[in-house]
Amino acid sequence: MYGQMAAECPGFMGVQTLVSDDCEIIRLVLDGEVDRFAELIARYQQHVTKITNRHVSSDRVAEVAHDVFVRAYTNLSSFSGKTPFEHWLSGIAVRTCYDFWRSRRREELPVSALTTEHQAWMDHVLVAESDDQFREQARRREAAELLHWALGHLSAENRLVLTLVHLDGYSVRDAAGLLGWSLINVKVRAYRARQMLKTLLLERMRQEDDTTR
């Protein structure tokens, strides 16, 4: 693998200095200069934080980002250099977030129930018309809690695909590449996850309609 990476990396040189620098650092790390890995951490810390922040709650970002870099180090010899290191690292970050939710699912964490405040918030959203009104509602605490509640009802797979495809706006192909799953699997999951979210929200709305009657 190392030899393969060494052969692939020069292809990037001259095109993107940063990428060739990455390859040089990786070569040194694989040769035993472990401390050089700190340079990769400094370079991609923000990128990894950005990805993990989209998938896990902000109080768990540091922990998950930590795991991402340790995982990247342990798998460094499998980095072929065919794609930029940043892209390779993004895949590891997304898969680490997936593992985080898989392990959380096993713990059977209770999902907090919604209150009348959330129902009132939904009422405001439903009467909103302008972009400003939507943005105003998005800034409210209830909005984040409702999103947390809805995602908490999904499996780790559906949650991740829904976040990547419907919330982050990745294409199905890109999401499949990041997750290391087949295109059809991501397509099916994206559809199912969207349907599940719709059903969840519809149930809430119907409950709300029943209580206001």
């Binding site: 951490i41 980002a65 870099f69 909103a128 998005a138 976040t163």
Partner: protein, 105 residues
């Protein structure tokens, strides 16, 4: 699902997507990268000892193979060259004689 339902869900989903995009990025703290590097050094040390253990493991198995071959060769040669002696020895052991008898009758 009616058209009205779809419209209502669309509105809520739109705001939820907005919430997701506007997520505040947390700061990881000053010693976060130091902690990561500490974990990586531990991992590197672990990998090093694992590599040594694997090498030792391979050496043990190779030695075991050589030892087994040598044992077979030794057993074979013993069986081959000591057949006559073994017969004599068996005869000696089976014949009744008084080893403790006096030398002079």
């Amino acid at each position: 699902m009616t058209r009205r339902d779809n419209e209502r869900i669309g509105k809520v989903a739109r705001v939820l997507a907005e919430v997701h995009r506007a997520r505040h990025e947390p700061s990881l703290g000053a010693d976060w990268s130091l902690r990561v590097m500490r974990a990586i050094r531990l991992e590197a040390a672990g990998q090093g000892s694992l590599r040594t253990a694997l090498r030792l493991d391979r050496l043990v198995w190779r030695t075991a193979t050589v030892a087994a071959v040598l044992a077979l060769v030794f057993t074979g040669s013993v069986l081959l060259y000591t057949t006559g002696d073994a017969v004599e020895l068996t005869a000696l052991m089976s014949s009744e004689f008084d080893a403790t008898g006096s030398l002079v009758e």
